[in-house]
Amino acid sequence: MKFIKKYKNDILLITSVLIIAAVIFAVSAGTKRQGAVAVVTIGGTEQMRLPLDQDAAVVLGEGEHTNTLVIADGKAGIIEASCPDHVCVHQGEISYEGQSIVCLPNKTIITIEGGKDGDLDAVVG
């Protein structure tokens, strides 16, 4: 009890940080949907949309700045990149709505978007 009283403010602060994190996580953790697409954006402009249910391998970018995007088993991931740190490769595979892979050196973002009208599980009413 003494401990809690002494560090009341600290505990409040840390708890509120964790709660905010949980809320953002809850918002972002959308469910996996069929018909989801991987949206490729380079330098702020959308380049292409690739459906996750079709396997594909694409080389993004040109010249020295390239990332190789592979879609397999309904997941998208970057397997090869020209940048020195390979952060995008280490981010693994993504498949849920709102997830993203970002390559800062090449200004490339892969985002998963799902949910067109035809993807609803059921319509009630």
Partner: protein, 167 residues
């Protein structure tokens, strides 16, 4: 007077050197989970120590000079922008919380770590011109709480045990 000035210069130089070494150690120790940007925040030990021992101005000097030198030694323009934003925001928050005097050293360090990440995410969102990376924030926040707490506990021990007299 000159004696005090010499002591002050020495102290600042020492703290900056410690912060630089900790930055280097941090850059060679792999601490990599699936989310990029998770770091231990070792240099923050020196910054928090400076904040509690020589005040906000001194901590600001140590922190900003560290960011510049680290960018020159190991970084590039992008990493410089990232660390400068993180350092400034976390420094402001930590100074305010310290002044407010309602929180322990460890909580101040946690707040600094969390806001450091928030600032870096904000810069990244500007660089890539998209808001989607906000979704990295939960993981970064949780890691910042853990690392910030450890760093804060180490710092508070140092603040308690290391004696500095500038007179």
């Amino acid at each position: 007077m000159t004696r005090m000035k010499a002591k002050k210069v020495t102290l600042y130089g020492l703290l900056i050197a410690v912060a630089l070494i900790l930055s280097y150690v941090e850059s060679i120790v792999p601490f990599f989970f699936t989310v990029p940007g998770i770091k231990m925040g070792l240099p923050n030990i020196a910054i928090v120590f400076a904040l509690y021992k020589i005040g906000a101005k001194g901590a600001a000097a140590v922190s900003i000079i560290r960011v510049f030198i680290v960018a020159l030694l190991f970084g590039n323009l992008i990493s410089f922008a990232f660390s400068l934003a993180g350092a400034c925001v976390s420094l402001c928050v930590m100074s305010l919380l310290r002044k407010w005097d309602k929180f322990s050293c460890a909580a101040v360090s946690v707040a600094g770590a969390v806001l450091h990440n928030v600032a870096q995410i904000a810069v990244a969102a500007i660089v890539i011109n998209s808001g989607v990376i906000v979704f990295w924030l939960p993981a970064l926040c949780v890691s910042a709480v853990v690392t910030g707490l450890c760093i804060g506990l180490v710092s508070s021990l140092l603040v308690k045990r290391v004696r500095i007299d500038l007179d």
